[in-house]
Subunit: 210 residues, 2 copies
């Protein structure tokens, strides 16, 4: 990841940026997330990040003006991935049970497969942001919570779900998914497909024998 395709100068960055902005930006955010997780946000410097990218300091400042902006950029990138790869693909599903299953599966696979662990870790640290940046990230997170609550409410109205509190159900689902990076190791005994199935089974059917 660091250094990308071997282009190390600012000219190379600018050239790639025009052609392929999301990929280069994604590399910066993923690398910065890794450095922040390794060193801590306060200890990591812009120099650490630019050298991990094989860029000059001027090269990184061409894109990012401060560490706070970078933190906001990583979280926005994490939310972009979530919204494009998960939320936008499931919002239009009419049947609430199918919508819930697709959301759960998509979100689990995003966490295990499509988004580097460090981006997920940082996305959960929204207290590290302040002011307008924090409001903007929290607004996007709340939109997802409202979507989940609406889905659980619909399940209830159609007689598919028991009388459950939609807010609690939404945060139980978020808790089980957002805890994955604390314990799950990709490539171990449990594939991410099986993990997604098991989490769906547990949320929908619970533990007890019927």
């Amino acid at each position: 990841m660091p250094g990308g395709g071997g282009e190390t100068g600012e000219a190379g960055l600018a050239r790639r940026t025009r052609q392929d902005r999301p990929t280069r930006q994604a590399q910066i955010y993923e690398t910065a997330a890794r450095i922040f997780c390794e060193k801590g946000f306060d200890k990591a410097s812009m120099g650490d990040i630019s050298s991990a990218m094989g860029l000059t300091k001027a090269g990184i400042y061409h894109h990012i003006t401060s560490k706070d902006e970078l933190l906001f950029g990583i979280m926005s990138y994490g939310m972009d991935l979530f919204e494009s790869k998960v939320l936008s693909r499931v919002e239009a599903i009419t049947d609430p049970l199918e919508r819930l299953k697709a959301t759960l599966r998509g979100h689990v696979l995003l966490v295990t497969r499509d988004r580097p662990k460090e981006v997920t870790v940082i996305l959960h640290e929204s207290n590290a942001l302040t002011g307008r940046y924090r409001d903007r990230i929290n607004r996007r997170k709340r939109r997802y919570v409202r979507f989940l609550q609406k889905t659980f409410r619909e399940l209830g109205r159609r007689g598919l779900a028991r009388r459950i509190d939609p807010e609690i159900a939404a945060f139980v689902m978020l808790g089980m998914i957002n805890w994955i990076y604390q314990w799950y190791r990709p490539g171990g005994r449990l594939s991410d497909e099986k993990l997604a199935d098991a989490l769906t089974d547990l949320l929908l059917n619970g533990v007890l024998e019927r």
Copy 2:
């Protein structure tokens, strides 16, 4: 909390320490946890913590030799509370279903009631520790995970639970509980008793209508 009962000198600390060590230590850990959460671990100084406690710097160094030791102390204190208030009270319950219910309820109420939010936040940051300190905290956490896995396995053997993966079930339960501090506000529309009941209901019975 800062300044405790108004005793601000080192003599006062020493006198209380002999009579009432856990309480004074608990005050130090809870205050330090709050400061670490507010300022960040790297930015917070021992001076910030001693002045929040109304102690001299010498007063705090009498108890704690470094910030790393303090971080370990806060996590150990968080685990002490968990083990004394929850784990030690439920381990001996013979019936696995009753044991699971008592554990879930005890853990939820610990998080909402008995342990300041900041101690919980820091307890989840075990990557901030290194070496021997980290091993010691992780060993205590793993003991709890094994206890949960054993309980889910017993539920299965007695025909009470469906065929579920005990490791996944354990981490689903931890995820739903450890996510509480991210969204739940004590004193709001939802009492912590009702929260504990709802989480028990969702884990044991799932969402779907039977």
